[in-house]
Point group: D2
């Protein structure tokens, strides 16, 4: 399985804090941009998944901060599907700046219905994500 996507993000002024670097909470938002763009590259949109009645709340997240990102840096978010079943999905991320890894992390999600109750996502969606279905 090799479901990987790369997307670019530029650090905004509002993303920084008075330490002069991107605030530590921003990376979870950038991970989200990464996974949404990975889905889009597979022909899916997260908006479409929600319109079909499925949600992907985060149940666990982890982040290792190796180097700081600074204002106006252009970051590359590399997102990878580490595991995907009809019940849950695990994504892994690597963020690069100037060719160096600055952050690694993961998010784990369950599939739920509109009321945030766990459910199974259709096989066809999994097939689209994993590239086993066209």
């Amino acid at each position: 399985m090799d479901v990987v996507n790369r997307t670019e993000i530029r650090v905004r002024y509002a993303d920084t804090d008075q330490m002069g670097i991107a605030n530590n909470s921003m990376y979870l938002t950038w991970f989200e941009v990464g996974r949404v763009e990975l889905l889009r590259a597979r022909g899916l949109t997260y908006r479409g998944i929600e319109d079909a009645g499925y949600f992907l709340p985060v149940i666990e997240a982890g982040i290792k901060y190796l180097k700081p990102a600074r204002y106006d840096d252009v970051l590359t978010v590399e997102s990878r599907v580490a595991k995907c079943t009809r019940l849950r999905i695990r994504m892994e991320y690597r963020i690069f700046c100037d060719g160096k890894t600055i952050v690694t992390g993961f998010t784990e999600h369950v599939f739920t219905d509109r009321d945030l109750r766990p459910c199974r996502i259709p096989e066809t969606v999994i097939g689209r994500i994993l590239g086993t279905t066209k």
Copy 2:
């Protein structure tokens, strides 16, 4: 009419940017905290208003930044109902730090239904906001 409320907010680290002051976008969020607490002091909750099917999207906002707010400052947000009809409401704000006004501003809202279509809010709610109904 004298519908005024004061509420305190402490500037968080994530609220600052690399200029070493609170980011200019934060004040709109603090205005929101101010108006929610004003409603609560009138015996209303914004959550309750939404549960009843009414929303208050912002249609206009203005902010004058007189002095910067800094990390860990305790701000006082003074919120005032400047005008309120069954169709719309105008709120005015003054933010103090150490007894000095650092920001003034306003927001104007329309009342809408769940689908964000303009609607009239019940007289009783207006009465509660303006203090003419108990």
Copy 3:
């Protein structure tokens, strides 16, 4: 004077609130992206301006919300230099979605030094912004 720039922004999930639309505070951040990209198109970077010891804190802002922006919408931020002297700059913005104007607004800034004391910015920088100097 015709100093205009257009830049695209996609609405992120974290930008929305439970009203199902982009939170009203996000537009100030998007205005910031717009003005930074306008400067970049003029051969200037805001990072470079700060490195040279000049800051542009916002002293006033105004926003009119005509239509909501929704998750995953691609917005076009059109930024314009409305006025620029050695002491201050006024920017105006228009945000489009699907060819319709959804938000208009402005920000006014003073030029300051590192300690946020008002100062005069060099003529050459003004010339670069206004396109009268190469």
Copy 4:
């Protein structure tokens, strides 16, 4: 060692996303509020630590999301010093709502100087944090 602090936070409208719950990135900001208030309860301020030339950038963070937080919920952030040496500090957090644990997590920090180079923090500061020095 029993260095624990509890602080309350109310979920703001801007903290929610269109899933109708607090956005997953907010918890890192709330953890920050928790650790700042723990320090304050020990007679230290994070502002004072920075003024003395020490910074505490996050090098690792983890979050388990057990239940969602909703708009206007009042959360209790319980922060605990799990480990503290002159080089680094590990904090653990538990967030409660209505008496139930909704999120657990941790952050790990190194002590650095103004240029974000690792350094040793004075014994007296450690003593203040751990309560072994008055």
